[in-house]
């Protein structure tokens, strides 16, 4: 049966994308920002955020929904950066070392998160969210109390005046924008952080390759039907944990890329919003809780951040207060996630109903024999 190009179905599928397109299309001219400024901002933001959003792809493929527990990966990345800055390692070496230090931490945290999520089947997303809060407490315990007292910290510049615990904001000037400026290319008025783009390109290749491996195939199978996968002999629990571990490690690297672009790190708050931003971006890009592709990531990052750039100015022009633009931006991002979740759950029920209707006896199917 040929795929008839049904515009209505296309719109229904990507309702969230369409709404965002309409709003940003309306807000861009109102904000009065120059196209050149917006495009430059978008280029840097794609480099800064894309990697983080990619870390959500695998758990979705494995049927675990949006991994709000990726916050654990972000924490691992921050711990790596703290060590790199403390040892005074400059430039890209510092970033690489932060990743090497953060890797084991991310693997352990990811494995732990996988075990917890396996015990909360059917409500992985909310459990991941609460796990993020819980581990935030553990993170504060380690970074605010153990670092400097139990864990040796060399440079006093980053420790609190009381002698232990890391400062609230950590200057990353030793590694600031080192990845972005590594191979920065100037095309016309725009500066493109090519090194970051190359790293992101590598990640895309990794994901494309991973989907074609046996482990990737197992994850797709589990994502659709755990019972059938189990009876076929696939190790369901173990594969789900591997999906979460990989997602956490990617989030760790993503956070390092994000923070090196920002130039400084809010030690105790930087990771709080990563889960929310990545999820909002992915869902705005048209992904659903059970299906997410690479284009969804890019479309999502562009659309969401276009709104984040433009909305405050639009609010200022329209209502005379930039704050309204910011509130509207936040409200819209939360609404995007809520809408995407509702549409996904509602459609899952509708499909189940439709499938059942097909089997109806009596007048409907005329009945065999």
């Amino acid at each position: 049966m040929s795929k008839t190009f049904d515009v209505r179905k296309l719109l229904a599928d990507n309702l969230v994308v369409v709404i965002f397109l309409v709003i940003t299309a309306f807000a861009v001219p109102v904000s009065g920002l120059s196209a050149q400024f917006i495009i430059q901002e978008l280029l840097t933001r794609i480099g800064r955020n894309a990697f983080l959003v990619f870390s959500l792809l695998l758990p979705i493929m494995a049927g675990m929904g949006i991994n709000f527990g990726m916050v654990l990966g972000a924490m691992a990345g921050e711990i790596g950066l703290i060590v790199a800055v403390d040892w005074g390692i400059l430039g890209v070496n510092g970033l690489a070392l932060a990743a090497l230090v953060g890797m084991p931490v991310a693997v352990i945290l990811g494995w732990l998160a996988g075990e917890v999520l396996n015990r909360a089947k059917g409500r992985e997303m909310v459990t991941g969210y609460i796990l993020g809060f819980f581990m935030d407490g553990v993170y504060q315990l380690i970074v605010l109390y153990m670092m400097g007292s139990i864990i040796p910290i060399r440079s006093p510049a980053i420790t609190l005046s009381r002698g232990y615990g890391i400062r609230n904001t950590l200057g990353l000037d030793s590694v600031r924008q080192s990845l972005d400026t590594l191979l920065a290319v100037r095309i016309g008025p725009y500066v493109l952080p090519m090194a970051t783009y190359i790293v992101i390109a590598f990640l895309c290749l990794f994901i494309l390759w991973f989907r074609r491996t046996k482990l990737g195939q197992d994850m797709r199978a589990i994502g659709q039907d755990q019972g059938v996968s189990h009876s076929a002999g696939i190790a369901v629990e173990r594969t789900r944990i591997i999906a979460i571990v990989i997602s956490t490690v990617l989030a760790m690297i993503g956070q390092i890329i994000f923070l090196q672009n920002m130039g400084n790190m809010a030690t105790y708050n930087a990771h709080k919003q990563t889960g929310f931003f990545a999820a909002a971006a992915l869902l705005v890009g048209g992904a659903s809780v059970s299906k997410a592709t690479i284009p969804n990531v890019f479309v999502g990052v562009v659309l969401l951040h276009l709104m984040y750039i433009v909305m405050p100015r639009a609010g200022a022009q329209l209502f005379g207060q930039a704050q309204i633009g910011e509130f509207f931006r936040d409200a819209l991002s939360y609404a995007a996630i809520a809408m995407a979740l509702v549409i996904y759950a509602w459609r899952k029920r509708a499909n189940a109903e439709k499938a059942r209707a097909g089997l109806r006896g009596g007048q409907a199917a005329g009945g065999a024999k």
Binding site: T213, Q217, D218, Q224, G227, S231, R360, G361, A368
Partner: protein, 533 residues
């Protein structure tokens, strides 16, 4: 047919679940490349026998089995279905175990994909090798070829017609290189006539290639047309093991259902009952696994009307549909007043009550006390057992009245419990069933539907439950519609028995009718002289 040692042989297989014997000294053999039909009523032991063959955990957990299973002459005992698969024994279930979003090829080679090793394998192990899709497609096409059917290897299972799904699953089982035996459990249940025909010819192809097949089905005409030998099981014993040639459907039906006990001496009091309590016309019910296609019957006032038939034919769908628990259509009239379907409340308000077959799932609130369970429906539907305050604005549970009601039924139905406040989950199966009965009786219904009332309870409790039903019918005149897969039980209590096959009533018989007639109706055949309702 070469007659070297048989591929598979069961010798003296005996199995009991907590004392009730399910398989008694079952022995038969199956030669290479031969098709064996395994028939019998549900509960005759077919599924248990297959679980023994496949080493399902349920067998070892309940004390294992005695006797030996021999494969190619050597005794084998598999600890899990995966061992059986490795030994070349595949099973195709009735409900499909396929991944909807995968293509035919991906499903056929599920978890046995052909792989190309890469550098990552050395570090992280086998699962990081890349899938060799062309090789997978070739293997799938080979398996489909062996089946002799046309299947598009790249089509998604979710977009496949039902017949193709069945073939995909069979192709997956025979895709293993050392497959020697294939077990099919009710494969044609969901197929149309033409699809079933294609399946049967495919199975003949496989047999010709040396694969032995155990074909479990209740469609006796299919069994006769394809099998070389037929083994009939009844109450866990092999009652007949014959060659298929010259056997008719009627023979098999009577072997399946026939009791040795000679019941010519039994007295069936045929009661003359005027008037119609319940009339059902062209009822269809969409209940998963129990689809009712087109059923019409009427129940006389004060009668005990029985509904029998094999599992999955739709007999359970009838009461669930009428009581509005599943989407249904058609017309149902109670004492002349039509009852709206798809609305549980309407059925209850009309004076009908239902004791569900799913005791733990639907029948009980396991975490609540007994008085809650019994009084709940009466409270919600009739507003009984409530104390009203402030002129009816606030209606609170009348704990005292609920306790009195419970104690009344505990005495009446002899329910063994520590008191009205005991949690339902702490009672035995039999007592739980009595609680469900009490819940329905508390509604004082004019028509009572009872579904599988004696399933999974001990013999003593069975007799008590049936006596209570008879008592309520004879003394209070409650019309009862009883659905059960125990034919003997229906014959002992019902005035008339309807047999349901494939979502339709195949026929209605008096309890005194010969056993083979019942067998024929169950197998979907017409009975010579039908008794019109």
């Amino acid at each position: 047919m070469s007659n070297e040692s048989p591929l598979l042989s069961f010798e003296g297989i005996t199995k009991d679940f907590y004392g009730t014997v399910v398989l008694k000294d079952v022995s038969f053999t199956l030669g290479r490349g031969r098709i064996l039909g395994l028939v019998g009523e549900n509960g005759a032991g077919k599924t248990t026998l297959m679980s023994v063959l496949f080493g399902m955990p349920v067998i070892s957990e309940t004390g294992g089995f005695s006797g030996t299973v021999k494969l190619d002459g050597q005794a084998v005992s598999f600890r899990s279905p995966f061992d059986a698969l490795d030994a070349g024994i595949g099973m195709v279930h009735q409900e499909f175990s396929l991944i909807p979003g995968f293509t035919t090829t991906e499903n056929i080679v599920l978890n046995r994909e052909s792989l190309k090793a890469g550098p990552a394998v050395e570090v992280f192990g086998e699962r990081l090798s890349v899938l060799d899709r062309p090789k997978m497609r070739a293997r799938a096409e080979a398996a489909i070829g062996r089946l002799g059917v046309k299947l598009d290897p790249e089509m998604l299972v979710s977009e496949m017609p039902v017949g193709h799904k069945q073939f995909t699953e069979i192709a997956r089982e025979i895709n293993r290189d050392n497959v020697r035996l294939l077990v099919l459990d009710e494969p044609t249940a969901v197929l149309t006539e033409s699809e079933a025909e294609v399946l049967l010819s495919a199975l003949r192809n496989l047999a010709a290639q040396g694969i032995s097949i155990i074909f479990i089905s209740h469609r006796l005409h299919e069994v006769l047309s394809i099998c070389d030998r037929i083994v009939t099981l009844r109450d866990g014993r092999v009652v007949k093991d014959t060659d298929a040639k010259g056997v008719t459907v009627a023979d098999v039906a009577s072997w399946m259902v026939g009791r040795d006990v000679d019941d010519s001496g039994r007295k069936f009091d045929a009661r003359k009952l005027p008037g119609a309590a319940l009339e059902v016309e062209n009822l269809w019910v969409d209940m998963p696994g129990e689809t009712v296609r087109d059923v019409s019957f009427s129940v006389r006032e004060g009668e005990i009307f029985g509904i029998g038939g094999l599992a999955g034919q739709g007999k359970l769908g009838i009461p669930n549909g009428i009581m509005g628990l599943y989407p249904a259509g058609g017309t149902v009239r109670l004492h002349g007043k039509t009852v709206t379907l798809d609305a549980p409340r309407a059925a209850l308000d009309a004076g009908m009550a239902f004791v569900s077959e799913d005791r733990r799932g639907v029948g009980l609130l396991l975490d609540e006390s007994l008085d809650w369970n019994i009084a709940f429906t009466a409270m919600q539907v009739k507003g009984e057992y409530l104390k009203t305050y402030l002129g009816g604005l606030v209606r609170l549970r009348d704990e005292k009245a609920m306790r009195a009601l419970t104690e009344e039924y505990v005495k009446l139905l002899d329910i063994k419990c520590t008191g009205p406040k005991q949690k339902a989950k702490e009672l035995s199966g039999g007592n739980q069933q009595k609680i469900c009965l009490a819940k329905a009786f508390a509604l004082k219904p004019t028509v009572l539907f009872v579904s599988e009332p004696t399933r999974g309870i001990d013999v003593g409790a069975k007799a008590l439950v049936l006596d209570n039903l008879r008592h309520y019918n004879r003394d209070f005149g409650t019309t009862i519609v009883m659905v059960s897969s125990e034919l003997e039980e229906l014959r002992s209590i019902c005035d008339r028995i309807a047999i349901v096959d494939e979502g339709r009533i195949a026929g209605i018989l008096p309890p005194s009718a010969p056993i083979s007639d019942f067998g024929l109706l169950m197998a979907g055949q017409k009975v010579p002289e039908e008794v019109q309702p």
